[in-house]
Every structure is written in structure tokens, then in C-alpha cells.
């Protein structure tokens, strides 16, 4: 079953085509790497899929909902986490969970149970009343991710979730993604770490608004006769002509 389906999805700003007829499918439970150079159109594409921006043309369904007409439904069925914005540092762990649970529309009764369960799985029962800003970075990230999927969304969008994070924490974070994927939650990830591209089931690489390659990492490396994903990426991104 596909949780994301796009068909010639495009977004133009005036004469500038940020996203140029991209078509792809992402299957349930898949970890999908969404790569591209700065300015290749990743952010614009992701915003359309999250229901934050209306496409100029083409079709797309996210979690079964149409990106033109059912943006509100889409927002209920996805989770979102970025490195820049994740949690409120001046709220406690418990308050953050309650806040985002509320935002995602969890009923009050369910929320209390879910909060306890979440803190238990994270091993953070003693931190319920700790301010998030006082947590170590690794914990913050774990918490941010868990909060992003507190409503058991079909898809979680992760926008450079590991930027600047130390290597060990980065790997622990990926284990969280794997665990979520085993539960059937699809992960849609952007990253600038090319080794992380290898952790994805499939990877797409955008160049100048178009998807230039989409396959399993191993297959991509075969096609481009490259030793690692970094070389694949560079081979493709060099072709970029637009500088914006």
C-alpha cells in the first residue's frame, strides 16, 4: 500500500519552477531518503506533501488524502520533526508531551496513558518535570521524535533531524526510526549525511527540481558505479545548472 503517491507534482513561483513534475510512491513502513543539494527543491516538495503549500499542478495523495482539498486531514495523519524546531525548551517534558498530544488531537484520557507509556519506553520517567532545555541533546531528540509520532501517524517527515549531532546520538536516533518503521510508520527523511542515506530503504535524489534518481542505495551505487552514496550524490548534483 502506498502512503505517498505523487504524479507530476509541480510548484512554480512566477517563472521559477521549484519542483518540476516529480512522480514517486512511498510504501507503508518504508524509510525513504529524500536527498538533494541546497535549493534543489526538497523543502518546497516537502511542504506540499505536508499540506502546507498548494501545488501548481500535478497530483499527490498523502496517507490517502488529496494535497489540494484535504490538507487538514493530511496534517492529522502525519508527524513532523526538524532539527530547528522540535520542542519548547521552557516547558517541561510532561508539558511538551501534553501540548503536542493536544495539538495532534489525542483525547485527554488517552493522552495520560500515552504520556506514561512514552516516558516508560524512553526511560525518562524521572524527567517528567524537567525542563526540556536542561535535557542532554540526545534525549531531546529522542523525545522530539517520540512526540512527533505520539498520535501514531502514517508518515513522519524528518527534516534534517540529525544536523550537528554527535555520531553516537545520530546512530541512536536512526534506531528510533527503524523501530518506528517496524511498527508500520513510514519515515520520510532529508539529511546531509550521506552515510545516513545508506540506512534508507530507498533514496531519491533531486537536482534542479526534478527527481534524477530513485532506487535502493545498493542499486544506485551499481548504476553510478560508485563506492558509496556520497559519490552517487556528487555525480548527480554536479549536473545541476541552476544556482538558486
Amino acid at each position: 500500500m502506498s502512503v505517498i503517491e505523487t504524479d507530476k507534482l509541480s510548484k512554480r513561483f512566477g517563472s521559477f519552477t521549484a519542483v518540476d513534475r516529480i512522480s514517486f510512491r512511498v510504501e507503508k513502513g518504508e524509510i525513504f531518503g529524500f536527498l538533494g543539494a541546497n535549493g534543489a527543491g526538497k523543502t518546497t516538495a516537502m511542504r506540499m506533501l505536508c499540506g502546507l503549500s498548494v501545488p501548481t499542478s500535478g497530483q499527490a495523495r498523502v496517507a490517502g488524502y488529496d494535497v489540494y482539498r484535504e490538507q487538514e486531514q493530511i496534517k492529522k495523519h502525519i508527524g513532523y520533526m526538524s532539527q530547528r524546531f522540535s520542542l519548547y525548551g521552557d516547558l517541561t517534558v510532561g508539558e511538551n508531551i501534553r501540548l503536542f498530544g493536544g495539538i495532534y488531537g489525542l483525547p485527554k484520557k488517552q493522552l495520560a496513558g500515552r504520556t506514561d507509556e512514552l516516558l516508560r519506553t524512553l526511560g525518562m520517567e524521572n524527567e517528567r518535570n524537567t525542563f526540556v532545555s536542561d535535557l542532554p541533546l540526545g534525549w531531546k531528540q529522542k523525545l522530539a521524535f517520540s512526540v512527533a509520532i505520539i498520535h501514531e501517524p502514517e508518515i513522519v517527515f524528518l527534516d534534517e533531524p540529525t544536523g550537528g549531532v554527535d555520531p553516537v546520538t545520530r546512530r541512536r536516533f536512526w534506531e528510533l526510526i527503524y523501530r518506528a518503521s517496524e511498527r508500520g510508520i513510514t519515515a520520510f527523511v532529508t539529511t546531509h549525511y550521506m552515510d545516513e542515506a545508506e540506512y534508507c530503504n530507498r533514496v531519491s535524489i533531486m537536482v534542479d527540481g526534478r527527481i534524477e534518481a530513485l532506487d535502493k542505495p545498493a542499486a544506485l551505487k551499481d548504476t553510478f558505479q560508485a563506492g558509496n552514496m556520497n559519490e552517487v550524490f556528487r555525480a548527480l548534483a554536479r549536473k545541476a545548472v541552476r544556482n538558486e
Binding site: 541546497n38 554527535d166 536512526w174 552514496m229
Partner: protein, 305 residues
Amino acid sequence: MNQVIIRNISRKYGDTTALQAVGFSVPPGELFGLIGPDGAGKTTLFRILTTLLLPDSGSATVCGFDIIRDWKEIRTRVGYMPGRFSLYQDLSMEENLLFFATVFNTRVEENYDLIRDIYVQIEPFRKRRAGKLSGGMKQKLALCCALIHRPEVLFLDEPTTGVDPVSRVEFWDMLRRLKQQGITILVSTPYMDEASRCDRIALMRSGHCLSIDTPGAICRSFGKPLYAVRSGRMYALLKELRTYKETFSCYAFGDSHHLTLNPGGADDVGALQTWLRDKGYTDVSIEPIAPGIEDCFMESGDRNV
């Protein structure tokens, strides 16, 4: 004489230790890297060396001048590109460059040879507002601004963070060329794979220097055999390997898992292969590999972050 000498510098913010007894020297013309994640103390160290912050204890000299007493001298001799430096968004590329040239008491023409390589790449956009430039171009412009007065020492705080891999490679190539012009460069980065582009590096975590040496020497000091393990089911394999009694550490590393076995143990790859086959992994490959900087970083010191 060393261009930068740091002796035992410590600095706290309230109760948080940002730097703890850090010390090293950088000779003229070296490309020196501070490698570490957020919170390692890289920015604090740069701010102390550029005379923007005072250390709690310890001392340092830059270009032979004391960072506390001779701050005025240092400020005319160094170039600095702070991490979140984003130029003046509402000024055009050219205006930004001209402004920084006058601020540093020079003209663009005077040191044009130094920035020419970089500037020609962005020149077609010189009338464009800095806010409308792409990340890679902004970064190049910022570098031009920091170089405009031909500094003796250049401090670059995380110039490649958030920049895509292609632009990152280009950026390091530029630094190489600058180094050939005799400029001493200190650069920080959270990307471990960039360490190999430096002459020497300091691995930093939580305010401590873990090791200071050439990237090659640090890798050689890894001190135990490292294996790359692959199979069709990577995540399951990772969990399985962690339960193996001889496993010392095991981390996902791109398309393979990097594994070290318990020191003093048998270090028997054959035994591991058999154990995995019994668990149902028939397609496993295990090969010894040379450790990288990231392996060294993860193996060193306290791993509980």
C-alpha cells in the same frame, strides 16, 4: 613561531563547562580542524581566540599577541566567520563586500588576487541581495568578506553546517588553495568526514580535547581490529550483533556495521561467522577495515552523551 598558541584554557557559562583545560598550537600555514558535535566548545574557543570572550583561566596568543591585553592588534590581523553569520540580507552581494572592505580599511582591488577564485563563481550575482542567495553562494560570499583584508589567521566556525555535500567539497577545495597562499586557517565542523581534509585536527566533545594529531595518526591510534559486517537484513543484524558475547561495540556505518570485539578476547572472526550462520544469517560478509575519524571519535572517552 606558532600563529596560535593556546595554553590550558577553561571557560564556563554559569554551571555549564564550555571548555576544560584546552591547549594546542598551530604553526603558520596550517589548516587546523576542530572536529566535534554541537556543544563541544568549538564556538567558545573561536570567540576566545578572536578576543570576543575572556577565558576563565589559561592564556593564548594569536599572531604573537595576547588575546586579553592586545585585543586591538589581533582584531586587525585575523579574519572571522561566525557560525550563524548571515551577512546583511538587505544589502546586495557587492555592497556587502564593499562594506566589509571599508570596515577593514582596505579596498576590494587590493587583495583581489586572494578572493578571485571564489569571487568569480559568485560575481554574476553581484547585484543580488544577500538574502536571495543560495546557501552555497552565501557561504562563499561570507568567506570573501572574511578574507578581504588578507588576514594572517582565518577562523571559520562551522562554515559547512547545513550545506549540501557538493558545496562542502568545493568549500574545502577553496580552503586548500587559501592555505597555499600562506594563510593559517582554523576551521570547525561537526562533519567527521571532513577531518581528513585538515593537516591536523583536535577531536572535541563537551569542552574537552579528546586528541590532537594528524587525521592519519589519530586513525592509526585506534588500536584494535575493526570489521565491517554486512548482510541483507541490516537492522536485524545490528540488534543481533549487539547480543554477541564478544562484541565490544557495534555501530551502523552507512552500508555496513562497524564492529570491534572485546579486548583480550579471542578476536575470532570465524567464530562470529559461525554464530551468525546459526542465527540464520547466511549472506553475512565480515571484512577487516581501516578505522576512520568517526570510529575514533566514538571509541574515545565517555560514550554516554
